[in-house]
């Protein structure tokens, strides 16, 4: 039964691919300039403007495409930073153990004892709200849970017989890492990447919704919501489109992650 694709997984893959291609192909797909007013404010959806116009009359659909580019890009970069920092340290802690592990784990506990958004606000006030600072901050904050996950994944694999066998055969540490540990850790790490991406995506969106991220030339989804949310008390639902896009992509990635986890989870009992 392994590897069978479920309905939920198909939905997830369609959402993820749709969002990804919308973001990558934004300059070719967008019908209008995302930053150019071209009508009156809050025009309802029409044949020319599929999602209507925003608070100063810019085409909402084009803005969504370009905004997705920024939002997804920033979250992806942050997640990559988190993995580049967290995974190697996690591997080292798990494989060497001893005092390195004993030193790193309490540090991780201390960082995690404060909510990441509080750390982020403190860093913004201390350094700046530039986009590169935000990406590094989110990446470094999430490298801590990534470190923990990588450490426990590798610890679990090291305890298995085939690693023991390789070591008894006299294989070197590096060979064991490359041929035995890495291939077996990869599916779990991929799932962790999906989970982290979702959290980083929501995190960056929240920070820019709070207006604490310096603006790039194209507005991301979070700041689009912030700029237009004043229209909500007037009963206009358009500010919710970018927020809904954030939720939709997160659901999509979560569905794919759940499928990955169920596919690679080791069968228990007799077929193990």
């Amino acid at each position: 039964m392994r590897g069978r694709i479920t309905f939920a997984a198909v939905v997830g893959i369609v959402i993820v691919l749709g969002c990804a291609s919308g973001a990558i192909l934004a300059p070719w797909l967008a019908p209008y300039d995302p930053n150019l007013p071209m009508g009156s404010r809050w025009d309802p959806p029409s044949a020319q403007h599929w999602l209507g116009l925003d608070q100063i009359g810019r085409d909402m659909f084009s803005r969504m495409l370009f905004g997705g580019r920024v939002s997804i890009g920033l979250a992806l970069l942050s997640t990559i930073v988190a993995f580049l920092v967290g995974v190697p340290i996690g591997f080292v802690a798990a494989m060497l153990g001893g005092w390195i592990d004993g030193l790193l784990s309490p540090i991780a506990d201390m960082v995690l004892s404060v909510p990441p958004i509080v750390w982020a606000l403190i860093v913004i006030v201390g350094f700046s709200a530039r986009v590169d600072v935000i990406v590094l901050t989110v990446g470094l904050l999430y490298s801590v849970p990534v470190f923990r996950a990588a450490r426990s994944i590798v610890k679990d694999i090291i305890a298995r017989e085939y690693v023991e066998a390789a070591r008894l055969r006299g294989e070197g540490m590096f060979w064991v890492l490359l041929r035995e540990i890495l291939p077996n850790a990869l599916p779990s790490l991929a799932a962790e990447f999906g989970v982290r991406f979702c959290l980083a995506f929501l995190f960056v969106a929240a920070l820019s919704f709070l207006g604490l991220v310096d603006q790039l030339s194209d507005a991301d989804w979070g700041s689009m919501v912030k700029e237009s949310s004043l229209a909500i008390p007037a009963g206009i639902a358009a500010p919710l489109y970018p927020a809904a896009a954030i939720a939709l992509l997160t659901i999509g990635v979560n569905l794919v992650v759940d499928w990955l986890l169920s596919m690679y989870s080791r069968p228990q009992g007799e077929n193990a």
């Binding site: 350094f127 207006g211 909500i232």
Partner: protein, 315 residues
């Protein structure tokens, strides 16, 4: 057991001190030229000198940190750079507003998710379980501000049942407070309960899979008796952990939700202070949020130590 509790308390205090040092280092030491950093565009020589004097930047950082920590312990959090008022005065009223909101959301979300999560575990793989599963994946994926804005559009604009802007007015009676803060509470509680439900379900399932539950059902006990008498006491410890973890999410979520509902709490104060680069206020708010979460984990650990008979009864 007392020794264990003492160790746990000591760990919390050490963590809080390390966190306070980190907060201080990030805001006043690592960035280098703090004064011009705070002022940004308005960094004229006079302004820079004023901020340097205000923050006492000419003295070495470790001396300033010790002084700051001593001040914090005596309730002196310095003066706000923006309004020149005492930080403790600025924070005072905001602090109780946030505490009210967090408590309100916690009292709704914890019992709700324990009941719903347990039911989903007991009726595993049933329609109800699937419904809870789909609902919680959806709710977990929604940013807090999206949930908040939908609630405003629906219940404040469309139906006008609750106010869109939550304010804590001292002249209100208790039920009016509950009504005024219903929407921000609901936004927080929904996001938190969605996570908590899933985790409660997993904790209860782990217990339900154990041999003594199979034994109990083979003895012919009724399902409700198995759940209430055999499963729940053993799931209690992990449920306490789950609740603590999620209440920590709740404390973090308050920062965004207060901004959505323009609620005069500590979270919005902190966001505003970050925008104004008001370092002393951000330091104080950060420290309070950190202390709240660290305290929460401490309480959870104490509760699970006390509720674990193996630890409690061992000498």
């Amino acid at each position: 057991m007392l020794k264990l509790l003492g160790q746990r308390l000591l760990l919390s205090i050490v963590t809080l001190i390390v966190v306070s040092a980190l907060i201080f280092a990030i805001t006043e030491w690592l960035p280098g030229d703090v004064a011009s950093n705070i002022l940004g565009q308005q960094a004229t020589p006079e302004n820079v000198a004023a901020v340097r004097a205000e923050l006492d930047l000419d003295r070495p950082p470790h001396v300033r940190y010790i002084e700051w920590l001593r001040g914090v312990l005596h309730g002196d959090l310095g003066r706000s750079l923006a309004s020149k008022r005492l930080v403790s005065e600025v924070i005072g009223p905001r602090w109780s507003n946030t505490a009210f909101l967090v408590l309100y959301a916690a009292l709704v979300s914890v019992p709700l998710s324990v009941v719903l999560g347990t039911l989903a575990a007991v009726y595993r793989k049933g329609v109800y379980d699937r419904l809870i599963g789909v609902g919680s994946v959806t709710a977990v994926s929604m940013p807090e501000f999206f949930v908040g804005l939908i609630l405003i559009l629906l219940f404040a604009v469309q139906y006008r049942w609750f106010p869109a802007i939550a304010t804590y007015k001292p002249e209100h009676v208790f039920t009016q407070h509950l009504q005024a803060m219903f929407l921000p509470m609901l936004a927080l509680a929904l996001v938190v309960a969605a996570r908590m439900m899933r985790m409660v379900r997993t904790s209860v399932l782990t217990v339900l899979d154990s041999p003594y539950i199979e034994m109990a059902s083979l003895k012919g006990l009724s399902r409700s008796r198995i759940v209430m008498r055999h499963a729940m006491p053993n799931a209690l410890m992990s449920i306490i952990d789950v609740a603590a973890l999620n209440l920590a999410y709740l404390i973090a979520g308050v920062i965004v939700v207060e901004s959505v509902f323009t609620y005069n709490g500590l979270g919005r104060l902190m966001v505003d202070a970050v925008a104004k680069r008001d370092v002393p206020v951000v330091q104080a708010c950060g420290l309070i949020f950190a202390a709240a979460v660290i305290g929460l984990h401490l309480i959870a650990d104490v509760l699970s130590i006390v509720s674990n008979p193996r630890v409690r009864l061992s000498r």
